[in-house]
Amino acid sequence: MQYPIVVKNLSKNYSNKVAVKNINFKITKNEILGLLGPNGCGKTTTIAMMLGLLKPTNGIVLIDGEDIEKNRIQLLHKMNFISPYIELPKKLTVKENLIVYGKLYGVKKVLLRIDYLSDKLRLTEFLNKKTGELSSGQKNRVSLAKALINDPKILFLDEPTASLDPETGDFVRTFIEKLSKEREMSILLASHNMDEVKRLCKNVLMMKDGLLIDRGTPNELIKKHGKINLEEVFLKLNRTSNEF
C-alpha cells in the first residue's frame, strides 16, 4: 500500500536544542491525522520539515513515495498549508491574492477555481475587498481558499480554527471533514482544540519535547489513560509529577 505521507526517523537539531527526535508515522488517503502537544513541543518544526521549509538533521519525509528533500518543487504542487501565524498580503483584494497563488501553483483556469472556492467557502460577497479589511473569520476562510487553490492531495492545517467564533469554527470543521472524504485528501491537523481533534481525526499523535509519546484513536487514548476525554489525556501526558 502506498501512503501519501511517510515520516521515517525524522529529527531536527539546532545548535543548542533538539527540536524533534526520531519520529515515525504514516498518513493514509482520506485520513485526518491529529498532531497534539504543548507549545514548543515540535509540531510546527515537524510540519515545516514535511513541507520542505526546514531541512531535517536526520530521517526522511516521503510524499507519494518521493523524498521531499530530493524533489521539493514537484511535490509542493501536491500540498498546501494553513496557519494563523502566516497571512496573505493585506493590501491585495481577496481575488487578487487568490489569483497570485493560483499562478504560483500553476493552476489552469484559475478564475473558475476561484469561483468554485468562493461558492464553497462563502467568499463571494467580499471577493473584491482588501484582505486586510476582513474579519478574522473571513480571513480564515480566505486562507483556506488559498490552501485549496491547487486542489492539494495533502493538506497541513496548523490550528485552523484558532480565534474563530463557534459558528465559523463549526463551518470550517464541517468543510474539512467533507474535503477529506470527497477529495480523498490526507490531512495533518495540529490543534489545541481537543473536541475538534476528536471530531475530525481518526488517529492522533501526541508529542512532547520533540518526541512522539503516544498514538492511537481518540477513544483508544482516552480508554488507555483512564480519562473521560482527550483533554484529560493531554493534561496527563504533559504535566510532570510535581505540577498541579
Binding site: T44, Q74, L76, F81, E87, L88, Y101, Y105
Partner: protein
C-alpha cells in the same frame, strides 16, 4: 517617576541592539558615510573649481544615474521586505517556486518599479534646468544596463542577509548604497580619493560608469573601455550575488528562518 520602569525600557532596547550586529552597524555607519561623502565632494569643488564647464549638467545627470541605481536596488529589497512585513514569507516558500524563478520575478518587478520612479525625474530636468540625460546618447543604454545589474546585485546581497538574519537586516537594506556612494565616485573623479581608497574603488563598476558619464558630458568622448570594465565587474559580482542568495536559502532551511522570519 520610576527609575525601574525607565531602566526597564532602556533594557528592552539595549537587549535588542546588543543581540544584533546589523543594528549595531547601522548605528555606526550612517553618520560616518555622510561625512565622508560630502567631504569628498567639497574637497573636489575647492580643489578643481575650473574642472567642469557644465557643473550643473554633470551633477544632475550623475544624480539621476545614481538614483536609478538606488531605486533598482531598493526596489529589489522592498519586494522582499514586503513579504516579511505582510507575514506572507512562508506562503511564498511553500509555493512550488524555484529560487531562480523568485530572482527573475523580483528582477522584472524591480525594473518596472524603478522606471516608474525614473521617467518623471528625467522629464522634469529638461524644463527645470535645461538639462537632458539623453545627451549621453547611445552609451546611456549601456550605463543604465550596467547600473541596473549592479543595483540588482546589491539587492541580492541584501536579500541574502534578510533570508539569513531576518528583519534585523532591514536597515542594511535601506542604507547599503550609501555605504558604496563615497567609493563609487558618483560626483567626483577617482583621483580625489586617497590612494588606498582608489584601489578599492577600482574594484567597483560604479567608478567606471560615472567616469564614463562625465567623460561624455565634459569631453564629448565615449571611452568604451570604461563600459567594458563595468560589465566585467558586474558579471563577477552578479555571480557572487546569485551564489550567496542560494547559499542563504540553504542556510535558512537549515536554521529555520523561513518559518519565523516575520517574528
Amino acid at each position: 517617576m520610576s527609575f525601574n520602569r525607565i531602566y526597564g525600557l532602556f533594557l528592552r532596547h539595549f537587549f535588542l541592539i546588543k543581540s544584533s550586529l546589523p543594528r549595531i552597524l547601522d548605528l555606526i555607519y550612517w553618520p560616518t558615510i555622510q561625512i565622508i561623502l560630502w567631504g569628498f565632494i567639497s574637497l573636489f569643488f575647492s580643489t578643481y573649481s575650473n574642472y567642469y564647464n557644465n557643473t550643473l549638467g554633470v551633477i544632475l545627470t550623475c544624480a539621476i544615474l545614481y538614483d536609478f541605481l538606488f531605486r533598482s536596488s531598493i526596489s529589489f529589497n522592498m519586494l522582499f521586505l514586503e513579504e516579511i512585513w505582510s507575514r506572507n514569507f512562508t506562503n511564498l516558500f511553500i509555493a512550488p517556486m524555484r529560487i531562480s524563478e523568485i530572482i527573475i520575478s523580483l528582477v522584472i518587478t524591480a525594473l518596472i518599479r524603478t522606471l516608474i520612479g525614473l521617467v518623471p525625474a528625467i522629464l522634469i530636468t529638461s524644463p527645470l534646468f535645461g538639462i537632458s540625460i539623453l545627451n549621453l546618447g547611445i552609451p546611456l543604454l549601456f550605463l543604465f544596463l550596467s547600473l541596473y545589474i549592479f543595483g540588482i546585485t546589491l539587492g541580492l546581497f541584501v536579500s541574502s542577509g534578510l533570508l539569513r538574519y531576518g528583519p534585523a537586516f532591514e536597515n542594511i537594506a535601506w542604507s547599503s548604497l550609501f555605504l558604496l556612494a563615497p567609493l563609487g565616485c558618483i560626483y567626483y573623479p577617482i583621483e580625489i580619493l586617497p590612494d588606498m581608497l582608489q584601489t578599492m574603488a577600482k574594484a567597483l563598476p560604479l567608478v567606471y560608469i560615472f567616469e564614463e558619464a562625465r567623460s561624455i558630458l565634459v569631453n564629448q568622448y565615449v571611452n568604451y573601455s570604461n563600459i567594458k570594465n563595468a560589465f566585467v565587474l558586474n558579471i563577477f559580482y552578479l555571480f557572487i550575488g546569485i551564489t550567496l542568495f542560494y547559499y542563504s536559502f540553504r542556510q535558512a532551511r537549515k536554521k529555520g528562518s523561513l518559518i519565523n522570519i516575520g517574528e
